[in-house]
């Protein structure tokens, strides 16, 4: 059931910046998952990925509404689609096109582990809209991770699949770590008791969870790529997400 549009409490612009980075990550991750519709390795995964994509897009829409202070479709669309590439704050992990299924599966698992950790920082938020959304999102992420864990449990028993997944993880390590790129507005967001800790504080546990499955990894000593720098694949992604909208920007759906 679609909720009626409503006005939301105005936010400190710094907090808006912080939430915008999360919203952009969710938007691009959801979009990447939707692009597996019809081409995933088997039908059940095809549908599961589409369903998980809808959850991530739902999180993005809810965050955009909080950032904009208005939950109408027009406002959310303007923020989600109407910015130039330089205006986005997504990490490069969610902007990269990954045509190999093993790369996508590793991204899905690692992203959702980090995503759940980020929502956990918001569950006790002083802003009720954000806290309620975090509780709802965490409930969904529990099942996303369970879905991915079940797939990995099965695939890692197969030597060929195991080798491909380990290779995908190794290949993507610097890209995966871009999710921990600093987020503008974090200091103000913590000072306002909207987030309980810096997202960087979740990074070690995330690395430990990955290593518990795949063994020791050579984590990059370099700082993650900044959220102001777009991945080379972003321009094409941005064009795809706007393709239908630009046919008739004033159309009412």
């Amino acid at each position: 059931m679609t909720e009626a549009p409503r006005e939301l409490a105005p936010l400190d612009p710094a907090v808006g910046e912080y939430l915008l980075a999360f919203a952009d990550d969710e938007h691009m991750m959801g979009q990447q998952h939707t692009e597996w519709i019809g081409v995933a390795p088997f039908l059940e995964e095809d549908l599961a990925f589409a369903s998980i994509a809808q959850d991530e897009l739902g999180h993005a829409a809810a965050l955009y509404a909080i950032v904009a202070g208005d939950s109408s479709d027009a406002t959310i669309d303007a923020l989600a689609f109407g910015r130039s590439p330089r205006g986005y704050r997504s990490c490069q992990l969610v902007e990269a096109s990954l045509p190999a299924w093993e790369d996508t599966l590793i991204r899905h698992w690692c992203y959702d582990l980090a995503e759940a950790a980020r929502w956990q920082l918001l569950v006790s938020s002083s802003n009720a809209d954000i806290a309620n959304l975090a509780v709802r999102a965490l409930r969904e992420e529990h099942f996303h991770i369970r879905h991915c864990d079940a797939l990995l449990d099965t695939l890692l028993k197969d030597p060929d699949a195991s080798r491909r997944l380990a290779g995908a993880l190794e290949r993507q390590l610097p890209l995966l770590e871009s999710i921990w790129a600093p987020v503008a507005g974090e200091t103000e967001t913590i000072a306002a008791s909207i987030a309980s800790a810096p997202i960087e504080s979740c990074r070690l546990e995330w690395q430990s969870t990955i290593e518990a499955r795949f063994g020791r990894q050579q984590w990059s000593p370099q700082a993650p790529t900044a959220r102001t720098l777009r991945h080379p694949d972003f321009a094409a992604l941005h064009a795809r997400i706007n393709e239908v909208l630009l046919i008739d920007p004033d159309a009412v759906w």
Binding site: E44, E45, L47, A48, S51, H147, A150, D153, T154
Partner: protein, 98 residues
């Protein structure tokens, strides 16, 4: 891969109903796939997945002969007519007693 049959129970005092089937490598994958494929709009408040191999299938020949037994069907009309007749008769007798 194993074929699983999926059953959902809609909310309230409804019975489990067959929703479809899926392929999965393990029971856990069958559950999580069924959740994403069949209940993503809250179509049920309970979910069963059953390995198709665990269903005892009688086969169509087992029940086919029972499809040709018209004497086991009734519309209830004869019983309803007799009850109506007895009711009317009882009313008439009551009027006569007055």
């Amino acid at each position: 891969m194993t074929i699983y049959e999926v059953f959902l129970k809609p909310a309230g005092r409804q019975e489990f109903r067959h929703a479809g089937a899926l392929d999965a490598a393990t029971d856990e994958l069958a559950l999580v796939s069924a959740r994403e494929c069949y209940v993503r709009r809250g179509e049920g408040d309970h979910l069963w997945v059953v390995r198709r191999d665990n269903i005892i299938d009688a086969g169509s020949e087992f029940v086919a002969p029972n499809a040709d037994k018209p004497h086991r069907h009734h519309s209830g009309e004869a019983v309803a007519a007799r009850r109506r007749s007895l009711r009317e008769q009882a009313l008439t007798e009551a009027d006569d007693d007055d």
